[in-house]
């Protein structure tokens, strides 16, 4: 029997050892002090383009936030009414010439990363781009109250509004990131969605673009001359992963320093068990709900055979134990919303009147409506038709799939037969747009204010748009309109919103199931971590790694 002498294995073992040693050797760098850190952020999803007017995709937004500035941004309170809680960015100050004329004075220190100054012409150009139908920006509808943007001089820009309303300032500053007109003027408007600039942008923010390796990573470097203060973290690197689970695995393995959301209690427990990681809870911007279609599937001219009946919808809503479902799927990482709202809305009020979970009352209502189990098969029926509907669910969302199964079981116990249509997201999206569903499990990511999202999803203004369920109630719409336009003050607006939401809740156009509570995980060596709920990396330029916590990787020069 042939044998292998130990010496013949030596070269292979030595080569492997050398490989590992070389791979393990970090190049010791020389950076010391307060501006040396590198933050590797792992996350599912890769930006589509880094051109703010043509994308609303959240991975793009996270990067764009560091490269392009707004005129002013939300303050820590998150208040969107008035202008007192906003913080200056490109505009060092502003004043109201008239109740509908807002004048911004740009900070003369602001400059593009190619050295050119940021001017009022850039602001006017940006407004022109965002409102151009050829560019068709996703935020174009939110700018409809702005009549014009003009320049007074190179550093003064004037916004004129069509009418006075509480969130004028928010609309003027929150949606638009100022673009460099000298670099983008020549790009044809119809080609903005594919402009080369969007893959190698030049901005005016705290970080400048370095590299984008498709499918792998994106890197930004701090602009040491940034006029609002040099960012402490020298480099930001996004590592793209196929899904969030893999991102969390990379974080725990030490291949990344931060993830935006841990999503499940299981992931949070994994992160908690790692002593190198700190967890930062913050309010989520998403809410999810079961949406009843008021129109017949695929035919908006006919009412839905079941869900046109308000009493039936209310009975179905009272059937569902929302708290129990939520604990099952999210643990303590979400809350039951008191209406169509995420936790960041200022109108979030647990005292808002809702339909209770009351299965006995639900059963009585269904029986009163004629839905009884006449043939003993466990499913209620009326005039020979079973009480049954199909629930549209995207396969791409694990929480929604879990919800669908639990809902199916709760409805079955009430004698309601629910069949699941689990489809991939593009099919889900197509069927939602076309109204080809009985009910669907939808999730919405919201702006910081209900003023834009609620009318789009729950009023006639959203017909043909995002109001897939085609819910309408003139009384609700009047109150929403009053809440959005009234200048009577913040408290009055809040009261009006609550009254509107209570009307909607009593109509039960949907069953509001969850509003997420997020938890980011960041390596403990990073200090001063503050997270703004509407955009978790909005304040990253103030995060820092103290000199005594720097690792070799933070110090390395390349």
């Amino acid at each position: 029997m042939p044998t292998t002498r130990p010496s013949s294995r030596l070269p292979a073992v030595a080569a492997l050892a050398a490989l590992l040693v070389i791979a393990g050797c970090a190049r010791k760098g020389g950076c010391t002090g307060d501006y040396c850190g590198t933050l590797v952020i792992a996350g599912a999803g890769e930006p589509d383009i880094l051109l703010p007017p043509v994308t609303s995709f959240s991975p793009s937004r996270d990067v764009i936030e560091q490269v392009f500035l707004k005129l002013a941004d939300l303050g820590p309170s998150g208040n969107t009414i008035g202008d007192e809680d906003f913080q200056p960015q490109l505009a060092e100050r502003w004043e109201w010439d008239t109740p509908t004329t807002l004048v911004f004075h740009l900070d003369p220190r602001a400059h593009w990363q190619d050295g050119r100054a940021v001017t009022a012409a850039d602001v006017a150009f940006t407004y022109d781009i965002y409102t151009d139908s050829l560019v068709n920006s996703p935020v174009r509808p939110t700018l409809r109250q702005i009549a014009a943007v003009t320049t007074r001089d190179s550093l003064t820009v004037v916004f004129r509004f069509r009418q006075r309303y509480p969130e004028m300032f928010y609309d003027a500053v929150y949606h638009m990131r100022i673009m460099p007109s000298h670099l983008l003027r020549e790009v044809p408007r119809s080609q903005w969605r594919t402009a080369a600039f969007g893959r190698a942008p030049v901005g005016d923010g705290p970080y400048r673009f370095v590299a984008w390796r498709a499918g792998e990573s994106l890197e930004l470097a701090a602009d040491s001359t940034f006029f609002l203060g040099r960012p402490h973290l020298r480099r930001l690197i996004w590592r793209f992963t196929p899904d969030q689970q893999i991102a969390v695995t990379q974080l725990i393995a030490g291949d990344a320093d931060a993830v935006e959301v841990l999503i499940t209690p299981d992931n949070r427990d994994r992160a908690r068990a790692d002593t190198q990681l700190a967890i930062y809870p913050y309010k989520g911007v998403a809410y999810g709900y079961l949406w009843f279609n008021f129109a017949a599937p695929g035919d908006t001219t006919q009412p839905h055979p079941l869900f046109g009946d308000r009493e039936l919808r209310r009975a179905l809503a009272m059937t569902v134990d929302r708290g129990g479902l939520l604990r099952n799927v999210f643990g303590d990482m979400a809350k039951v919303p008191p209406g169509p709202m995420s936790q960041i809305f200022s109108i979030w009020d647990p005292e808002t009147r809702e339909l209770p979970h009351d299965s006995a009352r639900a059963a009585r209502t269904l029986t009163r409506l004629g839905w009884t189990d006449s043939d003993g098969d466990g499913i209620r029926d009326r005039d020979g038709h079973p009480l049954a509907f199909r629930l549209l669910v995207p396969t791409t969302s694990a929480p929604r799939r879990q919800y669908a199964r639990l809902l199916q079981e709760q409805f079955r116990a009430m004698g309601v037969d629910v069949q699941l249509d689990e489809v991939d997201f593009s099919v889900f999206n197509e069927r939602a747009h076309a109204g080809r569903f009985d009910a669907m499990l939808n999730t919405v990511n919201t702006d910081p204010t209900p003023s834009s999202g609620v009318p789009q999803s729950w009023t006639r203004a959203g017909f043909g748009g995002l109001n897939y369920g085609r819910y309408e109630n003139p009384a609700f719409e009047r109150l929403v309109d009053r809440a959005v336009t009234s200048v009577a003050g913040r408290d009055e607006a809040k009261r009006t919103w609550r009254a509107a939401i209570e009307i909607l809740n009593q109509d039960a156009p949907a069953i509001f199931l969850f509003a997420t509570e997020n938890a980011a995980a960041v390596h403990r060596r990073v200090a001063d971590v503050r997270i703004r709920p509407d955009s978790w990396l909005a304040l990253v330029r103030t995060w820092r790694i103290p000199a005594d916590r720097l690792t070799d990787r933070d110090r390395v020069e390349r």
């Binding site: 042939p2 490989l19 590992l20 070389i22 791979a23 050797c25 970090a26 190049r27 590198t38 590797v40 999803g45 589509d48 383009i49 995709f57 991975p59 068709n136 996703p138 119809s190 969605r193 594919t194 969007g198 590299a211 498709a214 499918g215 792998e216 990573s217 890197e219 480099r235 690197i237 793209f240 992963t241 196929p242 893999i246 695995t249 990379q250 725990i252 393995a253 030490g254 291949d255 995207p394 791409t396 969302s397 489809v423 991939d424 997201f425 593009s426 099919v427 999206n429 197509e430 939602a432 747009h433 999730t443 919405v444 990511n445 043909g464 748009g465 995002l466 897939y468 990787r553 390395v556």
Partner: protein
């Protein structure tokens, strides 16, 4: 030979065209629209309609098909809806990563598989043969993504010997331009290549063992032994070359299989290759990328087969390709 080559090339082009056409039709007939955002949030119908018009998706499928074929003949693979860039550029970045992974796995697959097969054949029905045979069967029956997850959790996350994903250390090695960075790249490549290579090696070993056993019973091997040659020389020089013949076919088919099999491994290890690109494109209904990925895969299969046929002739002089 030239006529044979021309015939094979013509057949290959026809196969590739058929695959592209079928993929184009199937992907366009599938439900769904390319308007969805990858994060699963709704997109305004106005923007969806705008995208559909701009990319010509409102035209009849036959018009889109002829336009696509015309562009393809000019080397234009089109624009990706989701990536908002030319398909060729996206493929050019992803393909080298997939090739590297597939090629490394292929080398591992055949080096290990042939060595094990020979070893087993030399010890037929003895403990080593039986034990290795069972291990090979066990490994071969594992789904690659499951083996990948196990390797990742054990050697990546728990033991920390290898990175849990990615192509390189993004902080220390943004580019592979130095010896430490080459080593770092190899370090990142190890687990995904092992995942693909081990499963393949298990199958290769079984083929190789069977082929060797068939060859060692032939007269020329008996003659070699009778001449007094050492057993190692008989096996490695005389028997092995003849036993490699069936493996050449396997070799030709394995490379494209590894390319396509890399899809799940790329997903598990966050390896930015063509497989991951294609899966994401399918989920997003990014038709141009899906069709281009099918094109590349079919070209690989056809080339693999051509290569196998060519190598067959080289390895076995008895095989002569007739030109008529």
């Amino acid at each position: 030979m030239a006529a044979w080559l021309v015939r094979r090339l013509a057949a290959s082009i026809a196969i590739v065209w058929a695959v592209v056409t079928l993929t184009f039709i199937v992907v366009h007939l599938a439900h769904g629209s390319p308007c969805g955002q990858p994060d699963g949030l709704p997109v305004s119908p106005a923007i969806c309609a705008d995208l559909t018009r701009r990319f010509g998706l409102d035209k009849p499928i036959s018009t889109q098909y002829y336009k696509y074929l015309g562009a393809l003949l000019h080397g234009d693979l089109g624009w990706s809806f989701a990536l908002r860039r030319p398909v060729a550029a996206a493929l050019a970045e992803a393909l080298p990563n997939t090739f590297t992974l597939a090629l490394t796995s292929l080398i591992l697959d055949f080096a290990l598989g042939i060595a094990l097969g020979v070893y087993q054949a030399a010890r037929e029905r003895r403990f080593g043969d039986i034990a290795l045979g069972n291990v090979a069967l066990f490994v071969n029956s594992m789904p690659t993504f499951w083996l990948g997850l196990v390797l990742l959790l054990v050697f990546g996350q728990r033991l920390g010997w290898f990175p849990v994903g990615g192509l390189r250390d993004l902080v220390l090695c943004p580019r592979v331009n130095s010896l430490p960075c080459v080593a770092d790249f190899a370090w990142h490549l190890t687990l995904p290549a092992l995942t693909l290579g081990l499963v393949g090696a298990a199958a290769t070993a079984r083929y190789q063992r069977a082929a060797m056993l068939e060859v060692v019973r032939q007269d020329f091997v008996r003659t070699a032994r009778a001449k007094g040659l050492r057993e190692r020389r008989v096996l490695l020089v005389h028997a092995l070359r003849n036993a490699l013949l069936p493996l050449i076919t396997l070799f030709g088919l394995t490379f494209p299989f590894l390319l396509t099999g890399a899809v799940l491994v790329e997903w598990v290890f966050a390896w930015p290759g063509m497989g991951r690109l294609a899966v994401t494109a399918i989920l997003e209904r990014d038709y141009p990328i899906v069709t281009a990925a099918a094109l590349v895969a079919s070209v690989m299969v056809v080339l693999g087969n051509l290569l196998a046929d060519a190598l067959y002739g080289v390895a076995d002089p008895r095989i002569r390709v007739r030109s008529t």
